[in-house]
């Protein structure tokens, strides 16, 4: 018996299924008029505290909001966020280090998206793994706490490079942490030139008005595609 080898020129994205579902979700979110934000950071950056304050402020001024939160285990974050009075759903990934589009899709059942203005997805705390999974968001927010070290963006450039906006959190602790603000900003700028950087504190409320203004602006003016989305599966096309 003879064996003939042949090459199948496939040229497709490895995560094509996720990308296709994410694009479908993005279309659904756009048609419903809801701005979706994917929040990524390492564990302990303060995503939940930041999100809780965001939800409270938006809800107080009458904006309909909801949140989905991902963790490996426990529904602690969902319970914390539910204190804000807005609808919250928890995804427990049971070991998976990132959220994928189908997990988000599964959480949408029963929610009237058209009645929402904003939907926040708090990703699993991890600065590597969420990088490549598009969740259908329009805005990807990367958070960095003053306690983490100014060089985090240089250590994890892949993730910071996919973000649309960065928030430095716990800015009220900057002095205690000997945080070098200029260095942190320069490092973010190095891996993602031109990205807007907010300095925030969930405790004092610093920077949150600017964050809410950014969100309102995105909702009003932006096409619903994150900066890193290549938009097509046709890999022969130049980017």
């Amino acid at each position: 018996m003879t064996v003939i080898p042949r090459i199948l020129e496939v040229r497709t994205r490895i995560l094509k299924k996720n990308d296709e579902l994410a694009r479908e979700l993005r279309g659904r979110f756009e048609r419903a008029g809801v701005l979706v934000v994917n929040m990524v950071s390492s564990p302990g950056t303060g995503k939940t505290a930041f999100l809780k304050q965001t939800l409270i402020r938006l809800a107080t001024r009458g904006d309909a909001v909801a949140a989905i939160v991902g963790d490996l285990e426990t529904d602690n974050d969902a319970r914390r966020l539910a204190e804000s009075g807005v609808p919250v759903r928890q995804i427990q990934t049971h070991g998976l280090c990132h959220l994928e589009a189908d997990m988000v899709a599964a959480q949408l059942t029963g929610w009237d998206l058209a009645s929402l203005r904003y939907l926040f997805i708090e990703n699993v705390g991890n600065l590597v793994c969420p990088t490549s999974w598009d969740l259908g968001e329009s805005v990807r927010l990367a958070l960095l706490a003053v306690s983490e070290g100014e060089d985090k963006p240089l250590k994890y450039p892949g993730l910071f490079n996919t973000a649309d906006i960065a928030a430095i959190t716990k800015i009220d602790l900057a002095v205690a942490c000997e945080f070098d603000r200029d260095l942190a900003r320069a490092n973010i700028e190095a891996v993602r030139p031109g990205m807007r950087i907010l300095e925030t504190s969930a405790k004092t409320g610093a920077g949150l008005d600017e964050w809410l203004a950014y969100l309102a602006d995105c909702r009003a003016h932006r096409a619903g595609r994150p900066a890193y989305d290549r938009g097509s599966d046709d890999l022969s096309r130049s980017p």
Binding site: P5, T12, C129, G158, A190
Partner: protein
């Protein structure tokens, strides 16, 4: 270890393509992995071997084409390759640019299959 998820997607995609093309044995799988894709090559190889165990891909070789980051330099008015991924500035003139032209690839490039043929006529 998101490489397990990526390896699973690779095996699913390869299996589908090979089935559609009527191929028999998978000799090798070639990927294009951009340096910004946050994939660790050793972890991906480890995961790939693990996922392939007991499947028709068990003996397939994994070839990885490493894709450096290329940005558009507005000052030099051309695409330039970056030596690393920690500074998005033109290595020639130093101008910063976030206009990425390559380096985010997470692509399945090609699959080498072997078709057994009995009684060849030529």
């Amino acid at each position: 270890m998101h490489e397990i998820s990526i390896a699973t997607s690779i095996v699913e995609a390869v299996t589908e393509h090979v089935k559609a093309a009527g191929g028999a044995e998978v000799r090798s799988v070639t990927l294009r992995i951009g340096r910004l894709s946050a994939v660790h090559e050793d972890s991906l190889r480890f995961s790939f071997d693990l996922i392939c165990e007991g499947t028709p891909l068990a003996t397939a070789a994994l070839r990885i084409i490493d894709v450096p980051v290329r940005i558009w330099c507005p000052n030099c008015t051309r695409e330039v390759e970056l030596p690393g991924i920690q500074s998005f500035a033109c290595p020639v003139c130093g101008t910063r640019s976030g206009d990425i032209r390559a380096g985010r690839e997470l692509d399945l490039e090609s699959i080498e299959v072997a078709d057994p043929v009995e009684g060849m006529s030529r």
